[in-house]
């Protein structure tokens, strides 16, 4: 396995990404989007696709850059730092990983469309308030040569605008099956959810939606073969995003501690705050190791990545939550105002904590794999 240090390529990628995002997608961009009542900025996504980020996990023969999961984590981290609002995780990470695992010509052309920014995908998996794929109740009954899908999904991230939906459903005795459907297929109704992080999510109802065998990704009853790697890629990238979010909130907080004066001195000179800031920095550093490790393991040993990925997501969740809680508290009143950016970090941290499995879910995965 490669070392737990960013390679030169990765460092350069991070620098470039940071430069671009500071200009094109600072927190203000998310604020403007929200104030305009929108949850997606196609122009931003277009620019990102033009830089090739959407193809980070897509083979070169499908028009991708094939840089791997560690590199995807580098990009996600930088996007987390500025809370860039894009379908990167849904499309370029989760859908791309699933399609790549499926393989074949159709998947290849779908990946090419993702890399080129022609199509966006969303993963419709949750049905209740917690991530629990194995508890999927939505049905895909065999009907003639095809299937009829009925059920409800919620918290479909980027599902409000995605062109295609990857839908997990239960096929009788055969088990869980993954479908790849156009979002406008008859019987599909999408309802936007007013999310606290101002990003896109939808509640989606499926009422006797017709699907053919061609709409099935992989084998009937064999959803997990491709879904599991897709989920793990998404979890690792989300963890990377949250580590970037933590770093962004932390930088803002340390800046405030240096600037803000109270009782005649910068508040950052108060030892109690210094120690808390230093502790937070330590937590962020430790989480960074878990993030980089998850990327490395996904790139070298993807079938044995669960421990590394769950470790990364668990650590990223607790660290991001600590970073935003300390961030708001150390900012005092101003941190509570909508005018200031810290609240955006706090709200995104909360959504990121839940998406694709929360702390408890991933901690239990770690425990199980460590025999505890």
């Amino acid at each position: 396995m490669d070392k737990l240090v960013k390679s030169e390529d990765e460092a350069m990628l991070a620098d470039n990404a940071r430069g671009f995002l500071d200009e094109a997608a600072p927190v203000r961009a998310l604020r403007d989007l929200r104030d305009a009542g929108r949850t997606h900025d196609p122009a931003l996504w277009r620019r990102i696709c033009d830089m090739g980020w959407a193809g980070v996990l897509i083979p070169e023969d499908a028009g991708g850059a094939d840089m791997g999961h560690a590199a995807a984590g580098v990009l996600a981290h930088e996007m987390g730092r500025t809370l860039a609002c894009t379908p990167f995780l849904s499309s370029a990470v989760i859908a791309a990983t699933i399609l790549r695992r499926i393989g074949g010509e159709r998947a290849k052309s779908a990946m090419a469309a993702i890399a080129a920014g022609e199509l966006t995908h969303a993963l419709a998996i949750d049905e209740a308030h917690k991530f629990a794929p194995e508890a999927t109740a939505m049905t895909a009954e065999r009907h003639g040569n095809g299937f009829r899908l009925s059920g409800k999904k919620c918290f479909v991230v980027d599902g409000g605008f995605a062109d295609r939906l990857l839908v997990l459903a239960r096929t009788g005795e055969e088990g869980l099956t993954l479908f790849d459907l156009p979002a406008d297929r008859a019987g599909i109704t999408r309802t936007a959810q007013g999310m606290i992080d101002s990003r896109d999510a939808a509640r989606i109802a499926f009422e006797n939606v017709e699907a053919t065998g061609d709409d099935v990704l992989g084998q009937v009853g064999g959803a997990m073969t491709a879904l599991k790697p897709g989920l793990e890629a998404g979890q690792a990238a989300l963890a990377a995003e949250m580590s970037g979010l933590a770093a962004g909130a932390f930088d803002m907080t340390v800046g405030y501690l240096k600037d803000r004066k109270q009782f005649g001195q910068p508040i950052g000179s108060f030892q109690a705050l210094q120690h808390r800031a230093a502790h937070l920095w330590c937590e962020i550093e430790v989480t960074a190791s878990a993030i980089l490790n998850a990327g490395r393991v996904l790139d070298t040993d993807p079938n044995e990545a669960t421990l590394a990925v769950s470790l990364a997501k668990a650590r990223a969740t607790s660290t991001a939550q600590l970073a935003v809680m300390e961030g708001v508290q150390m900012h005092g009143g101003i941190g509570m105002t909508d005018e200031y950016d810290m609240g955006f970090y706090m709200k995104r941290a909360r959504v990121g904590s839940e998406w694709l499995g929360d702390y408890g879910y991933h901690a239990e995965q770690v425990a199980a794999l460590r025999g505890m």
Binding site: G194, D338, E339, K347
Partner: protein, 392 residues
């Protein structure tokens, strides 16, 4: 024994009274700011039930149970009040009225006000006719509350007030404001402040809501531009307003802390856990363990609030130790709402989603440990004044 008999009789009476007077709609246990009546000239009752519940409670003195009857209270002892609150909780009754007049100005006025002031202002508060807000903080001052810059120039029969306050809770809905104003600019920081009462309708008073991260705007900025404040609109002596403010801060700390604790709050977490997860123990042991720890701490903190109330009634001054209630109560409340959010999962990630506006409640708790003195200020108060640790 005789005492017990008397209290048992009181319990029967109050239970019967509640049975008769508390409308069924008011028995849903909701205690959030939007469910409870705050009163004031512009209050719009959410229902007839809310109105009659206020009127009946006020007539019986039970909006301010411990205040003397002549000021609109019921004159209850601490033990009686406890019974009243237990009986309220038993039927899940909403409080009939909540206001900063009750929790803050009233106690200050009972302590520092003139007889005329008490007779004039307190009954208005008890009946929910006048809604008050608090003007302490100023921009840039943060935790340093005594660095008041808003000035009141002595013009003989009135002060001419100019300046700006921030974090004035619900100033946009309030009728009057009680505010710290610097009336002597030569005196040391804590010595030149007066505690003035200002009608929000007076010329020169304007207010502007501050939007918070929760989307709500409970706080405002409030501006004073050549506002004339007559000389009798002062609580306590001129330039001694810091004494009143300190007294009130203690009360505020207790109020904020108890908002976050108590048995009912503790039940809230357990109930949410059960409701959201079916068999909670089976679903997420790590979350459940955190919730249990929170419950243990919540129960003990609730008992501590009781104990401090009992101590106060026994004449044992609580003083700076109230900073403990503020600190522990608000930090606990933040923990609890983090757990509630976790228990609710994605259902709580929408504004006004399927489980109500849990997210707004959660974000609101983040302010608890900032407003009324940050947790850091509370810890410093405790370290210096209670533990006697030396200054740097």
């Amino acid at each position: 024994m005789q005492d017990d008999d008397r209290l048992n009789r009181f319990r029967s009476e109050i239970r019967a009274w509640l049975e008769e007077n508390c409308p069924a709609e008011m028995r849903d246990g909701r205690i959030t700011d939007d469910a409870i009546c705050w009163g004031g000239k512009n209050w719009e009752f959410s229902s007839d039930a809310q109105r009659s519940w206020l009127e009946r409670a006020a007539a019986r003195g039970l909006t301010v149970p411990r205040w003397p009857a002549e000021y609109g209270g019921a004159g209850l002892s601490r033990a009686e009040e406890k019974i009243f609150l237990e009986e309220m909780e038993r039927i899940n009754a909403r409080p009939p009225l909540k206001s900063f007049g009750i929790s803050m100005l009233g106690p200050a006025m009972l302590q520092f006000g003139t007889p005329e002031q008490k007779r004039h202002y307190l009954p208005q508060i008890a009946r929910g006719e006048i809604r008050w807000c608090q003007g302490y903080s100023e921009p840039g001052a943060g935790s340093d509350l005594a660095s008041v810059q808003t000035r009141g120039e002595d013009m003989g029969d009135h002060w001419l007030v100019n300046g700006q306050k921030i974090w004035t809770s619900y100033a946009d809905k309030a009728d009057w404001i009680f505010a710290l104003i610097r009336t002597d600019r030569e005196a040391p920081k804590h010595k030149g402040i007066s505690f003035l009462l200002i009608d929000m309708d007076d010329p020169g008073v304007t207010t502007r809501p501050i939007r918070l991260i929760s989307g709500a705007s409970p706080f405002c900025e409030t501006f004073f531009d050549n506002v004339k404040v007559p000389k009798d609109r002062i609580v306590g002596e001129a330039n001694r307003g810091w004494d009143v403010a300190k007294y009130l801060l203690t009360h505020e700390r207790e109020m904020i802390s108890s908002g976050g604790t108590g048995l009912s709050g503790g039940r809230a977490l357990g109930a949410v856990m059960a409701q959201m997860a079916g068999e909670p123990s089976a679903q997420d042991p790590v979350l459940r363990a955190a919730a249990i720890r929170c419950e243990v701490d919540a129960l003990a903190t609730g008992l501590t609030i009781e104990r401090y109330k009992d101590m106060a009634e026994a004449g044992k001054g609580v003083g700076n130790a109230s900073a403990m209630l503020k600190y522990m109560g608000t930090e606990l409340n933040k923990r609890r709402h983090e757990l509630i959010m976790s228990a609710c999962g994605s259902a709580a990630l929408e504004w006004d989603g399927p489980v109500g506006n849990r997210a707004a409640d959660w974000l609101r708790t983040k302010a608890n440990s900032i407003e009324g003195g940050t947790s850091e200020v509370m810890l410093t108060i405790l370290a210096r004044r209670v533990l006697g640790l030396p200054g740097a």
